[in-house]
Symmetry: C2
Subunit: 145 residues, 2 copies
DNA sequence: GTGTAAATGAAATTCAATATCAATTATACC
DNA sequence: GGTATAATTGATATTGAATTTCATTTACAC
């Protein structure tokens, strides 16, 4: 099967990385969220189940999960690395409100075309992209005309 | 006239910020480069002329220059904030090689259209965007087939 | 089971970003 | 031009996330 857990196990085996109770729990908790979590936020969630887990363990596990292709880092420009897992998510981009900090996930298939065009022109092999639009969301617009 | 120096002076006046020898020099040195500089890199350049200038002064000046609309922050995902001035530059996006770290500036006017479409759909007022494509540049491709 | 190499968790370190504060300097007003 | 005062400067300290270190524990190949 192609469940995230199988993908993860296979990735670990293929790279000589051992399975561990902690890392499995971290992945499980991570997949159970639908948020963009920083390492510390995920650490705090995992600690509910494993009060003795160390921050470094969570920090390292997130890196492994990203390398396994199950998550990716997103950056909203506030100096904190956040991570979103890809289970049940298509790729998407973000509208980021510079007033309240909220972000909206958006899908824009046409951007793939732009990426291909640029890549071809520069003989560049693209692996991923980030497209972020900064501005004022409709709520913030309302309260400061 | 509309020279960067005039824009800067006007911005300062309009916002009750004083003119200073140091800040003027920082702007001058910054505009004289064509690179994406971190605050420390710019600091080291400015120090050639002003050996006694403090890092904090450069750091603060860069923020003011950005607020004046003369530069913007770019982020290549390495944890260091870099700045590029806009004098003689149109807006552009970046192809970033994940192997050698080099980046290519690209212009892609169609992306403005995408931004407008998304903004309209979500009633979002966009002020700027970042579009980054990560991948392997043609040089790195050559040396690792 | 046993040996060994990887993983863990606590703590220390690093480093950019940012804040603090006394001394200095630019500007508005006289 | 002189003066008051509020912003700027530069040295230094602080913050906070990211990352490293290392002794102990654990997974797993044999």
């Amino acid at each position: 099967m192609d469940s995230p857990n199988n993908v993860f196990t296979q990735y670990l085996k293929a790279n000589g990385i051992r399975q561990s109770t902690q890392r499995d729990s971290i992945l499980e908790v991570f997949l159970g969220t639908e948020k963009h979590l920083s390492a510390i936020e995920l650490y705090n969630l995992v600690r509910r189940r494993h009060p003795n887990i160390g921050y470094a363990t969570v920090y390292r596990a997130v890196k492994v999960i990203c390398n396994a292709g199950l998550a990716e880092e997103v950056d909203f420009g506030d100096g904190v690395a956040r991570f979103e897992h890809k289970y049940g998510h298509e790729h998407h981009d973000h509208l980021i409100c510079t007033k309240c900090g909220k972000f909206i996930e958006v899908r824009q298939p046409n951007i793939e075309k732009l990426q291909e065009d640029l890549a071809k022109e520069y003989r560049f092999i693209p692996t991923r992209h980030k497209f972020q639009i900064f501005g004022i969301c409709k709520n913030c617009k309302k309260y400061s005309p």
